[in-house]
């Protein structure tokens, strides 16, 4: 394993320490519960927003804490939902009289932890709602499955509810907006390589030099199918088609397009992918109104990318354009 790491067991806490040291004015790190929160949270005049899930998806979600986005993020260990207790303590720390909205990607472990925490916090008299995000089109949604996964599309939910909460919307309204954004957001991802969790020390799976995994999530697990590596144009077409056909997005729709890197793919390639996806969508008459290219929700060092579309209306466009201030500043 070739990583910047000391004891792999301390990978997550040492990362969070670095994050807090780099943002001394705006963030607070609470080691007991492995949590990052805004230094000024909770604020009585806004709904508090919390997102959790395993670590290894950075910048999601710990680097999305700040004005206009999350009030706190409580990440678990790499790819593991946080313990219930940590979520519960996080909720207590940011509890606002206007309530707390918990955002959770739809995975069994995360949902269990957040729902149990919600119950515990409500018993303490805190008003809490939980919204599950499930934008991944590669997973079939049926009563025999656990439903779609939440992947990179969670960024748009966080951004929209963050803006709404900042403007003073009440809990019901913030929840409505989050649910609406989630309902018009779809993602599909693929991996060129496997990733290596620090504690495991070796890649999660073996992928020959001429093969890829299509339909991956964000936990380094294999995808729906293994396929041959092909020119970017063809692979992007497969991603775009899966996403477009799912909602479906149709000619005349105005959308936000995100090309999200999974951690090991350089930004030059992501812009190349963006250009291909943009043109393929334009061919279908879909109008791209907002563009997002970079890393938003990763799988450690996995090379690969996902494509997300959000169908925009005036309300969503306005919320996405609102200012925010999170650790991911460039300058």
């Amino acid at each position: 394993m070739k990583k910047f790491v000391n004891d792999p067991k301390n990978y997550v806490p040492e990362m969070l320490q670095g994050l807090a040291l780099a943002n001394p004015d705006s963030l607070r790190y609470v080691p007991e519960y492995n949590l990052i929160m805004r230094a000024d949270a909770p604020r009585a005049d806004k709904v508090s927003l919390v997102q959790g899930s395993g670590s290894g998806h950075e910048p999601a979600h710990v680097m999305s804490v700040g004005r206009g986005m999350l009030d706190a993020a409580c990440p678990g260990d790499v790819f593991a939902a946080p313990p219930t207790d940590y979520v519960y303590e996080t909720v207590k720390l940011v509890a606002s009289p206007k309530g707390v909205l918990l955002l959770v990607n739809n995975y069994t472990g995360d949902r269990m932890a957040f729902e149990m925490a919600e119950e515990l916090a409500e018993a303490d008299g805190i008003t809490v709602r939980t919204l599950a995000i499930d934008d991944d089109v590669s997973v079939q949604d049926s009563t025999y499955t656990v439903g779609r996964r939440g992947v990179a599309g969670n960024f748009f939910v966080m951004k929209a509810v963050g803006a709404a909460a900042e403007r003073g919307a009440d809990l019901g309204e913030v929840y409505r907006i989050g649910a609406k954004v989630n309902s018009v957001t779809r993602t599909m991802g693929m991996a060129l390589t496997a990733c290596t969790p620090p504690a495991k020390g070796s890649p999660l799976f073996e992928l020959p030099d001429d093969e890829i995994e299509m339909g991956v999530g964000i936990h380094g697990e294999p995808g729906r199918r293994r396929e041959k590596l092909r020119p970017a144009d063809e692979m992007v077409r497969e991603l775009v088609t899966a996403v477009v056909d799912d909602l479906p997005y149709t000619s005349g729709d105005g959308v936000a397009l995100m090309v999200n890197g999974l951690g090991g793919t350089p930004i030059g390639e992501l812009y190349l992918v963006y250009g291909l996806a943009h043109r393929q969508l334009a061919e279908r008459g879909i109008e791209i109104r907002r563009s997002y290219v970079g890393e938003y929700c990763t799988s450690l060092d996995m090379a690969g990318a996902s494509i997300t579309l959000v169908r925009l209306d005036d309300e969503i466009s306005d919320l996405l354009a609102a200012p925010a201030e999170i650790p991911l500043r460039v300058f």
């Binding site: 395993g54 593991a80 313990p83 269990m112 656990v146």
Partner: protein, 229 residues
């Protein structure tokens, strides 16, 4: 597996069967961190071994501080540590399992084979509810439930055969071998719960990590028990 005996280095363990079993579970989880992780990596995300090990490490570290006023109280403390400190899907599931097991023996001061069956049944029911899962979904339930069935059957058979008390070493061996058979039998199954379910058909062909963990733990208990007596 480590050569360390599960009770080594702990003077205050006492020698109740329950403590012996819990400590063996904890030590097995710690010793098999890598193996359990590899199993979860095939069609999952590889953290199962890590999650269990980090939690049971704390169970071992806090061992001497646990309330020992009754078997039920003791189990509740263990459940609390697991719920608090284990993340992933395993935290809530194993925490619930221990908590429900505690509930099944809340009025008991001494435990026997029938209590063991009751605890295992309660644990499995708790996991089903918490995980919205059932037998056949290719999870640890597919080892836990057949193992419990075999244990119950063996106790009944001993009773029917006129024996008053079943030999615990033999019971442990029967349970372990049922768990192993059942864990192996998860290989051809299609996962309908847990992360492997996302890979669809590709979940077929490898055993479920949780089910194998149950088998490995049960075997270790049987081995240690035989050595103990």
């Amino acid at each position: 597996m480590s050569a360390t005996s599960p009770t080594a280095g702990s003077e205050s363990t006492g020698n109740s069967d329950l403590e012996f079993v819990v400590r063996t579970i904890a030590q097995t989880a710690v010793d098999n961190e890598r193996e359990f992780g590899e199993l979860d990596a095939v069609v999952g995300d590889g953290d199962f071994g890590y999650s269990l090990a980090r939690g049971f490490e704390i169970v071992l570290a806090d061992w001497d501080t646990f309330d020992r006023s009754s078997p039920s109280a003791f189990l509740k403390k263990v459940a609390l540590v697991i719920s608090k400190r284990v993340g992933g899907t395993s935290g809530p599931l194993w925490g619930t399992a221990f908590l429900r097991a505690a509930g099944a023996i809340s009025d008991r001061a001494e435990l026997d084979g029938t209590d063991a069956v009751a605890m295992l049944r309660a644990a499995a029911e708790g996991i089903k509810v918490r995980g919205r899962s059932d037998l056949g979904d290719k999870t640890l339930l597919d080892a836990l439930i057949p193992m419990t069935d075999a244990l119950e059957e063996e106790i009944r058979a001993v009773r029917t055969g006129g024996g008053a008390v079943a030999d615990p070493v033999r019971l442990a061996r029967v349970a372990a071998s049922a768990a192993r058979t059942a864990a192996d039998a998860t290989t051809p199954m299609l996962a309908r719960r847990g992360r492997p379910s996302y890979t669809g058909e590709r979940s077929i062909g490898s055993p479920d990590a949780g089910a194998v963990a149950i088998a490995v733990i049960a075997e270790r208990i049987a081995d240690e028990w035989a050595r103990r007596t």
